[in-house]
């Protein structure tokens, strides 16, 4: 399933946050959205998943969601959004219960997704017992359980320390290599963008507009930590964004 954004503009009152964004997210690819703080990248992601409505423009789903897809547009949140009163398996089962999947059918799905995220041994643990990286893996397992057509990832690694972030990036790459899922990945971290993105959409500062779309052809599995070619991409992105980021930063200071 593809996603197309057509002429998305948005403002809160007189405060224009986004202007005329048109973008195509092809199936089976990861599109990263980067931009300075306040450029509306997380808002854009909420538009794509239908959690918020833009003032102008529309978000279209092209084609059918795959068979057995319970929730075509599925989020992974920065702060994990796990229910603290449910165990790891309880948090996964939460999103199955409303589809009438319980008992053995649910058990099979839960076991499968926990195995894919290496959480089988922690099925009965409560979120407070888990490290940040494990919590985010639970959230990824929960997203995998509904077999999404498109994953909407809102700074999924930003709340984690840099080592955990490396490990989880490897996890995401191996998950993608197995399943070739479609994803929109919002981040402010350029290293994540060049490691995970097939294409990287650079937004300008507020009001957010698309400045450039950078395509990276190197297969995800070959992208390693500290790869010189990726570093070049990252430097190019940073040069594109530096002045914008500085302007956005001082803009916040002036209120």
């Amino acid at each position: 399933m593809d996603i197309r954004l057509e002429g998305i503009s948005h403002s809160y009152g007189d405060f224009e946050v986004m202007r005329d964004i048109t973008l195509h997210v092809p199936a089976g690819r990861i599109v990263c959205i980067v931009g300075p703080s306040g450029c509306g990248k997380s808002t854009l992601l909420r538009f794509i998943g239908g959690l918020e409505r833009p003032r102008q423009g529309r978000v279209l789903q092209l084609g059918q969601a795959p068979q057995g897809c319970l929730n075509p547009l599925t989020y992974i949140f920065q702060d994990f959004a796990l229910l603290p009163w449910r165990s790891v398996e309880g948090n996964v089962s939460l999103v199955l219960e409303d589809h009438g999947i319980t008992g053995a059918a649910a058990r099979a799905i839960i076991d499968d997704v926990l195995a894919r995220t290496r959480l089988t041994d922690f099925a009965r643990a409560l979120p407070r017992q888990l490290s940040g990286g494990m919590k985010q893996r639970v959230a990824i397992a929960r997203a995998l359980a509904v077999n999404p057509a498109v994953m909407l990832m809102d700074e999924p690694l930003s709340a984690l320390d840099s080592q955990t972030r490396e490990l989880l990036m490897d996890d995401l790459i191996s998950l993608w290599t197995r399943a070739n899922f479609t994803a929109v990945y919002v981040t402010h971290n350029l290293a994540e963008a060049v490691r995970l993105g097939h294409s990287i959409v650079v937004l300008s500062r507020r009001p957010g507009q698309i400045r450039e779309i950078v395509e990276i052809d190197m297969p995800l599995a070959r992208r390693a930590f500290g790869d010189p070619e990726l570093d070049l991409y990252q430097r190019r992105l940073w040069e594109m964004m530096r002045d914008e980021a500085r302007a956005a930063d001082s803009e916040l200071l002036h209120g």
Binding site: G49, L51, L70, N71, L73, T74, Y75, F77, D79, A81, L83, P84, W85, R86, L94, V95, E97, D98, L126, P127, R128, R142, V146
Partner: protein
């Protein structure tokens, strides 16, 4: 030279001394038995004072006499003739008040119209001393049990409403957005996310409400009750029978401690997910 760091022992004339500790504190830790020791010490002090004579019998009854009165009360079977009607009033009244309070609190938390309509009303009736309304309840519900239930129910209702809608307001909105993003139904979001998330606040509201219920129990038994802890205390008070007065007060205290411990137990079961 000021920038270079000295290896230990190389500093020429400085003497080494340990860094003074200045952290710690401000973190309450459970200290079992201390609470009990305070009780025992106070009672022992009263016993000593009344026996030695530096506390006159008119000021404070001797704790051993109070105990004796209590034993008599138990042996004559009067204890349960007072306790059973009181507990019934407490349970029925509090159940009505807490039940309606939690239900309305949840509705206020979930629906803007209900909130707009009821929050000012609750704010208006919260500060009324419920005891002042006792005559009104007698007119409305008669002098029998119903007016006593009504008083306790009314007194527990207001703190429960306020605690419940505050708790619903405090449920993490990102969890609700998560529920919506996975296509959970409205009922599922309320049942599986809002209610468990509001449970800590609801239980702490329950703690306050039940303490108020015990206070109001005595007030309710001021009018037309022949049996009940409150009636027993009031009768003893009007006769200046301090031993019986204190025996009744001790029963109320024990009731309060029991209720509080019960809620503690429920909290440990329902809120085990908190650290």
């Amino acid at each position: 030279m000021a920038e270079t760091a000295h290896a230990p022992g190389t500093s020429p004339s400085e003497t080494a001394r340990p860094v003074p500790f200045r952290g710690g504190g401000f973190a309450p830790r459970p200290r079992k038995w201390v609470g009990l020791a305070v009780f025992v010490a106070l009672i022992a002090l009263a016993e000593w004072g009344t026996r030695a004579g530096w506390i006159s019998a008119l000021t404070l009854p001797r704790p051993s006499d109070v105990l004796e009165t209590f034993v008599q009360l138990y042996e004559s079977g009067l204890l349960f003739r007072h306790l059973v009607p009181s507990l019934t009033r407490l349970i029925v009244g509090a159940a009505i008040g807490v039940g309606i309070g939690i239900s309305l609190g949840i509705l206020i938390g979930l629906f803007s119209h209900v909130r707009a309509g009821l929050v000012p009303l609750v704010a208006a009736i919260f500060p009324i001393p419920k005891i002042a309304l006792l005559p009104l309840f007698v007119i409305w519900f008669g002098i029998d049990e119903a007016s006593k239930y009504a008083l306790i129910a009314f007194g527990t209702f207001t703190p429960m409403v306020v605690a419940t809608y505050g708790a619903v307001d405090n449920v993490d909105r990102t969890l609700i957005r998560m529920g919506q993003s996975f296509g959970l139904s409205w009922v599922s979001i309320v049942r599986k996310i809002v209610l468990p998330g509001a449970m800590p606040g609801i239980l702490s509201g329950l703690r306050i409400s039940l303490a108020i219920a015990i206070i109001l129990l005595v007030a309710a038994e001021m009018l037309g009750a022949s049996h009940g802890i409150g009636a027993y205390i009031l009768e003893a008070g009007s006769l200046y029978d301090l031993e019986r007065l204190f025996a009744g007060v001790v029963i109320l205290s024990v009731l309060g401690v029991t209720v509080s411990a019960g809620i503690g137990l429920v909290e440990r079961r329902l809120l085990a997910w908190r650290s």
